[in-house]
C-alpha cells in the first residue's frame, strides 16, 4: 500500500534513447511533481501538475515531458537521452492548498551510458 510508487527503480540506457518513468499515488492528492536529484544530492523541481495547470521549471530541457493519464498518475518521458540526464528522479504528490506537505516516491536512478 505504498503511497507514491515509481517504476522502475533503476534504469540504465544508452545515449539517444527515449525512456519513461511511471509514477502513481494512492493518497487522493490533486497535484503531482517530478524532482531531479543530481550527483551532489541537490533536489530541484522539474514539473508540478494538477488538473488545472502544468508548471514547468524553465531550466528543464524540452526533451523532458510529463504525461498525466489521470489524477493519480504522472509519468515522465525523456527523449534523446544525454549523459547529463543521469540522476535520481523523484515523483511526489500533495494537495493543492497551503498547510500540506509533499509525499515522495522511492526514486528512479537513471544512468545514461
Amino acid at each position: 500500500d505504498t503511497a507514491v510508487s515509481q517504476t522502475p527503480k533503476y534504469l540504465v540506457t544508452q545515449m539517444g534513447n527515449d525512456k519513461s518513468i511511471k509514477c502513481e499515488q494512492n493518497l487522493g492528492h490533486d497535484t503531482m511533481y517530478w524532482y531531479k536529484q543530481d550527483s551532489k544530492k541537490f533536489l530541484k523541481i522539474m514539473f508540478s501538475y494538477n488538473n488545472k495547470e502544468l508548471i514547468i521549471n524553465e531550466t528543464v530541457p524540452n526533451r523532458f515531458s510529463p504525461k498525466s493519464p489521470d489524477k493519480a498518475h504522472l509519468n515522465l518521458h525523456i527523449n534523446s537521452l544525454e549523459l547529463g540526464d543521469s540522476a535520481v528522479y523523484f515523483c511526489a504528490s500533495s494537495y493543492e492548498q497551503p498547510n500540506t506537505e509533499a509525499f515522495f516516491g522511492q526514486g528512479t536512478r537513471l544512468t545514461v551510458v
Binding site: 497535484t31 511533481y33 544530492k41 541537490f42 533536489l43 497551503p98 498547510n99 509525499f103 515522495f104
Partner: protein, 115 residues
C-alpha cells in the same frame, strides 16, 4: 525568492550522542518548514513540519525541530542518535501562502553514525 542553507555538508556523531543539524532560510515572511530524510537507496521521508503555532515541533523517530524566527532557523535535533539514523537530511521551505509546489530544498547534510 526563498532559499535554504544547510551549512554542514557532513556530520559525524557517535551512537548515543546528541545531534543537531542546522538549517537557515531566507524568506520575506514566515514560511512553512520541513525536514526530510533520505536513507541510502531510499526515497524522501518527512520527519516533521512546521506550519504555525508551537515553535518546537515533534516528529517521527524521536526527532524534533525548533523554529526561531529571529534567527531564521529551523534546526533539527535528536537527544540520542541510533546507527539507523545514518542518512541524508534535507531542510525545505515553502511560502505560507503557497502550496507544496513551491517547495525549495537545502543542499542536504549527510549524517554518519559511528558505533
Amino acid at each position: 525568492a526563498q532559499s535554504v542553507t544547510q551549512p554542514d555538508i557532513h556530520i559525524t556523531v557517535s551512537e548515543g550522542a546528541s545531534l543537531e543539524l542546522r538549517c537557515n532560510y531566507s524568506y520575506g515572511a514566515t514560511p512553512y518548514l520541513f525536514w526530510y530524510v533520505q536513507s541510502p537507496g531510499q526515497g524522501l521521508q518527512l520527519l516533521l513540519k512546521y506550519f504555525s503555532g508551537d515553535t518546537l515541533v515533534q516528529g517521527i523517530k524521536g526527532f524534533e525541530a525548533e523554529f526561531k524566527r529571529s534567527q531564521s532557523s529551523f534546526n533539527l535535533r535528536k537527544p540520542s542518535v541510533h546507527w539507523s539514523d545514518a542518512a541524508e537530511y534535507f531542510c525545505a521551505v515553502s511560502p505560507s501562502s503557497g502550496s507544496a509546489r513551491q517547495l525549495t530544498f537545502g543542499s542536504g547534510t549527510q549524517l554518519t553514525v559511528l558505533p
